[in-house]
């Protein structure tokens, strides 16, 4: 990665898109110090992320993993409560928070006592989101959170998350390779190529006035697909 200069205002929903190997996940991991940059720094509300030990930083930032990463030996409730537990919240507060989060991600309360292996992929990712939100972070990092889900679940979960983002006043950085998802969910899209930012703007801006050919091709994919779907529907109209 080189010469990345990115300022994200509070409460913005930023999608980071780009091809495989363009540095999307690396950028995300640098934010909560799962990776350390060779040079440069990340500041949150004006304070450098190096001002405190990495584990303290990470407890303040929610992270939803590409491969979910639920702990298989812990129940759903224990998975959700893991960061509050590390922060030494008292027992009742954790129990209440877990119940609140299960409701928030639309899972029945009795799921709390199940193990991750007993859940479907979509349910697991709901738990993943709940776990990331557990310690009431203001920032959420999401690494292709809905990538492994079937289209229907994916669409539903994406929409639901966007509403959570609004309701809780979160700042979200979401990595995705799916431009349509980025266009539908994000306030702002950052396009990476070979470790550099090649485009940065609202979905509307990037789709309409793009000079870079490759970026235009990328951004036009959703529109092209939408038109093809529309024409298919027209052909078969009675």
């Amino acid at each position: 990665m080189r010469a990345i200069d990115l300022a994200v205002p509070a409460r913005q929903f930023v999608a980071i898109v780009g091809e495989s190997g363009s540095g999307k996940t690396t950028l995300l991991k640098i934010v909560n110090r799962l990776l350390e940059p060779d040079t440069g720094e990340v500041r949150i509300a004006g304070e450098s992320t190096r001002a405190q030990p990495p584990h303290v930083l990470r407890r303040r930032i929610g992270y939803v993993f590409q491969r979910v990463g639920l702990f298989p030996h812990l129940t759903v409730a224990e998975n959700i409560g893991v960061t509050p537990e590390l922060l030494r919240w008292d027992h009742e507060r954790i129990t209440a928070r877990v119940a609140e989060l299960l409701t928030l991600v639309d899972l029945p309360l009795e799921f709390g006592s199940r193990y991750p292996a007993e859940l479907s992929g979509g349910q697991r990712q709901r738990v993943g989101v709940a776990r990331a939100l557990a310690a009431e972070p203001s920032i959420l990092l999401m690494d292709e959170p809905f990538g492994a889900l079937d289209p229907l679940t994916r669409d539903a979960l994406g929409g639901e998350y966007r509403r959570l983002h609004e309701r809780l006043g979160l700042t979200t950085l979401m990595v995705t390779h799916d431009v349509l998802e980025a266009v539908l969910l994000a306030d702002r899209i950052v396009v990476l190529r070979a470790g550099s930012i090649v485009a940065d703007g609202t979905p509307r801006e990037l789709m309409n006035d793009q000079t870079d050919g490759a970026v235009r091709a990328l951004m036009e994919t959703p529109r092209r697909q939408a038109l093809r779907v529309a024409s298919l529907l027209d052909d078969h109209a009675p």
Partner: protein, 513 residues
């Protein structure tokens, strides 16, 4: 058969409890070390291969050799500690067995643990960091719980190994179920050998099943099963350690690993009981281990042989006449270790040469000097160590012995070889019961080329002036003839109508009265 079975059963509580306590202690020590090493190996690739290599190398050393290696090592450490802190520790018995078995138990636990942690999905490690765990929290909350089933599988393997290998601790002076096997093998008492094997196997099986219960509890996250398995194991171990306590002032009688020693140790124990004392036996000790055990106070008394102590303990190469040797030995052992040479039993167990009685008569041979004149036409059969021992050149040079050919046998086959006329002369121990059984005659040694090997009773420094031992052993001194001793050993060694060492000891005691 049933008498021997009852005899074996009567010492089971002692042997079994010692075996359980030893195995449990070794497992606890080995397991703690293994987990620490496994963690270190997982954290650093630079530590990983030396740790795994070390554990693998330990595993390739035969169990018996590992135990034997700890003895000189601890002896040196003890000497060092005596010099530095003024007090040493015993290099025999529990400590070397514990350390060797603990080492032996480590490979499966380390290897399984390292594999278990390294093979975890890397996404889990990243998730652990991502939710804000420190390295330590990641290890304790995620990696160890998830690798626990692998650790448990390693522990099960290790437990079975340790319980089996613990039978090998008998020769270094640690009581175990191996006592049955070592003494049984020596006296060809297959009841004892089988009893020891079955007991050790049954113990291993039970422990394995309890650990399997815990393992399934770990895998399926059923705390009840883990608790039940752990509780039953704890009950077994505490029961065994409770059985080990008690019997405060019991005399411990040692025995080396051959029939005559088993009979004599039983005789000494019986005499102590006759005088109102309590006695227990520590049979199957290695030859030099026995003396060191006595000097260290691990055992209170045993029977050794003057020539053995002279050459193996005092490292002397000269030869003294029989009674001078005893007097010299008495003074030197007292000075060296505070060990008391109580007295001689009255017979020798020396290396000697023996022939079939009819053949000796036919050739007119009564002494080794007679033999030397005929030797060029004869074949000698020896046990596996004779030609390497100092007795052989001493004999050869004193009498100018030269045989037509020489052959080596294990003792049992050596006696059948001479009985069947395959060889003419054999080496023998003068008090061996098989001399009489095979109708052999022992050739005199008029030039006293071979050291005398008088059977002598030795007392530990702390028991040197024990009045009960003096009363108990006094009647035995100079009271056992070589013929009686041979007959007593033969009762145990013979193939038909075998007696236990205990029965032979009772027979022997009756001859003395």
């Amino acid at each position: 058969m049933s008498e021997r079975f009852a005899a074996a059963l009567s010492v089971l509580p002692e042997y079994l409890s010692a075996h359980v306590v030893l195995s449990a202690a070794a497992m606890a020590l080995g397991f703690s070390l293994s987990v620490l090493l496994a963690i270190a190996a997982v954290r650093s690739a630079r530590v990983r291969w030396p740790v795994l290599l070390f554990a693998s190398i330990v595993q390739t050393v035969p169990g018996l050799a590992l135990l034997a290696l700890f003895y000189p090592l601890l002896l040196a450490l003890s000497a060092l500690s005596t010099r530095l802190f003024g007090s040493g520790f015993s290099a025999l018995g529990f400590l070397p067995s514990l350390l060797a078995l603990a080492l032996y138990s480590m490979l499966p636990v380390i290897r399984n643990g390292v594999t278990g942690i390294l093979n975890l999905d890397p996404a889990l490690g990243e998730a652990a960091r991502g939710v804000g765990m420190t390295d330590w929290q990641r290890l304790v909350r995620v990696e160890l719980p998830l690798a626990a089933p692998m650790f448990m599988a390693g522990i099960r393997t290790a437990a079975v190994w340790v319980i089996g290998a613990a039978t090998l601790s008998t020769p270094v002076g640690q009581t175990s179920l191996g006592n049955y096997i070592f003494t049984g093998l020596q006296t060809q008492n297959w009841v004892d050998v089988t009893f020891g094997c079955v007991a050790a196997a049954a113990l291993a099986l039970i422990v394995d099943q309890l650990l399997a219960l815990m393992e399934s509890g770990v895998v399926r996250r059923r705390p009840l099963r883990i608790g039940a398995g752990a509780a039953l194991l704890a009950v077994g171990v505490s029961f065994a350690s409770f059985a080990r306590i008690g019997g405060g002032d019991t005399y411990v009688i040692g025995a080396k690993n051959f029939t005559e020693q088993f009979v004599l140790a039983t005789l000494l124990s019986d005499r102590i009981r006759d005088e109102g004392g309590a006695a227990t036996q520590r049979p199957g000790l290695g030859s030099t281990v026995a003396y060191e055990a006595l000097a260290a106070g691990e055992i209170d008394a045993y029977v050794d042989y003057s020539g053995t102590l002279w050459s193996n303990v005092l490292h002397r190469t000269d030869n003294l006449p029989r009674s001078e040797l005893i007097n010299d030995l008495r003074a030197r052992l007292a000075e060296r270790n505070g060990v008391r040479l109580l007295g001689t039993l009255g017979f020798e167990n020396a290396y000697t040469l023996a022939m079939r009685a009819d053949r000796a008569r036919e050739l007119g041979i009564r002494t080794i000097a007679d033999l030397a004149m005929r030797a060029r036409g004869l074949t000698i059969g020896a046990d596996l160590e004779f030609f390497a021992r100092p007795e052989w050149p001493a004999l050869r040079d004193a009498y100018g012995l030269e045989f037509a050919s020489r052959r080596e046998f294990s003792p049992t086959f050596m006696y059948s070889a001479v009985a069947e006329g395959e060889v003419d002369v054999v080496t023998a121990f003068s008090s061996d019961g098989r001399i009489a059984a095979n109708d052999l005659v022992v050739l005199d040694d008029p030039r006293r080329a071979i050291l005398s090997y008088d059977a002598i009773v030795l007392l530990a420094p702390s028991r040197a002036n024990d009045p009960l031992l003096a009363r108990a052993f006094g009647p035995l001194l100079d009271a056992i003839s070589v013929e009686v001793m041979r007959e007593a050993s033969l009762r145990v060694d013979r193939d038909t109508d075998k007696e236990s060492p205990a029965a032979a000891a009772r027979w022997l005691e009756e001859r003395i009265r």
